[in-house]
């Protein structure tokens, strides 16, 4: 039973991974990363519940808090990027690559 929870969270993590790598919409990328963190949380909470300790829950609170901290920066990122480019397309932000290519 415990393993099922673990496998579920691994699957969820992989889904998040696929989304974060393959999509070009910055908000969807952000949400995929959140999904990955949630998968980790599931793992921790199930450990806590099956082993009857509270450490897992505490760690999972940490993960949630870290996710929240990242969220704040991501919001700032959305705003700055949308202001500059009027789009959420990550592939538009490639002037750094260009300087390399034109050389």
């Amino acid at each position: 039973m415990f393993k099922n929870y673990l496998i579920l969270s691994i699957l969820l993590f992989s889904l998040g991974l696929i989304g974060a790598v393959s999509r070009r919409n910055i908000i969807i990328i952000y949400m995929s990363i959140e999904l990955m963190l949630n998968a980790v949380s599931i793992m921790l909470v199930s450990y806590s519940s099956f082993y009857n300790t509270n450490t897992g829950v505490v760690l999972s609170i940490m993960v949630t808090a870290i996710a929240a901290a990242e969220a704040a920066l991501f919001m700032a990122l959305f705003v700055t990027l949308y202001r500059k480019k009027k789009s959420l397309d990550t592939s538009l932000f490639n002037s750094l690559k260009d300087t390399n290519a034109t050389k």
């Binding site: 969820l12 009857n52 829950v57 609170i61 705003v79």
Partner: protein
């Protein structure tokens, strides 16, 4: 038996909604399916009898973070024409899945392989116990997290603040 059924339903729901989340074109659809996914996770916490995480999940993730995302989406007033042009989305996703698959398989294989002995019966973890654990053993991370949140707060204000052109 019943709890198994509930777990299976929640897990299926979770995986499907996450899949929808990573594959839809429009951001708002994605955000709403994310909401469903987060609520299913909350449900999974409930099956694990972790009341505290159940509440946290709903309040912080579904209540705060996701509404912030939806707020941002509406605030920026993203039109369809402003969405990224992703002609090869399906192809990209399939290719990525092919790359990710071995990683997943290896992780699952190792989980299958490892031996989790001395499992206890699932017990309800009360908020009080969680609090004790947090303040007895994990004070330092807890305090550091507060500083981390402060930094990200100041940082996002610094970055998002609109300034006069110099």
């Amino acid at each position: 038996m019943l709890s198994n059924m509930i777990f299976i339903i929640l897990a299926t729901n979770l995986l499907i909604s996450s899949f929808v989340m990573i594959s839809t074109k429009r951001v708002i659809d994605s955000a709403l399916s994310m909401l469903i996914a987060l609520l299913s996770i909350a449900g999974i916490y409930a099956t694990l009898q972790s009341s505290f995480m159940f509440i946290t999940q709903i309040i912080i993730y579904a209540g705060a973070i996701l509404s912030l995302v939806i707020f941002i989406i509406m605030f920026l007033n993203i039109k369809d024409k402003n969405l990224p042009h992703e002609p090869h989305k399906t192809r990209d996703m399939i290719l990525t899945s092919l790359v990710v698959f071995p990683i997943t398989a290896v992780l699952i294989y190792f989980i299958k392989l490892s031996d989790f002995s001395n499992l206890n019966e699932k017990t309800t973890s009360s908020i009080g116990k969680v609090g004790l654990e947090l303040y007895q053993n994990y004070v330092l991370p807890f305090e550091l997290i507060s500083i981390l949140l402060l930094i990200s707060l100041v940082g996002s204000i610094t970055l998002a603040r609109k300034e006069k052109d110099v």
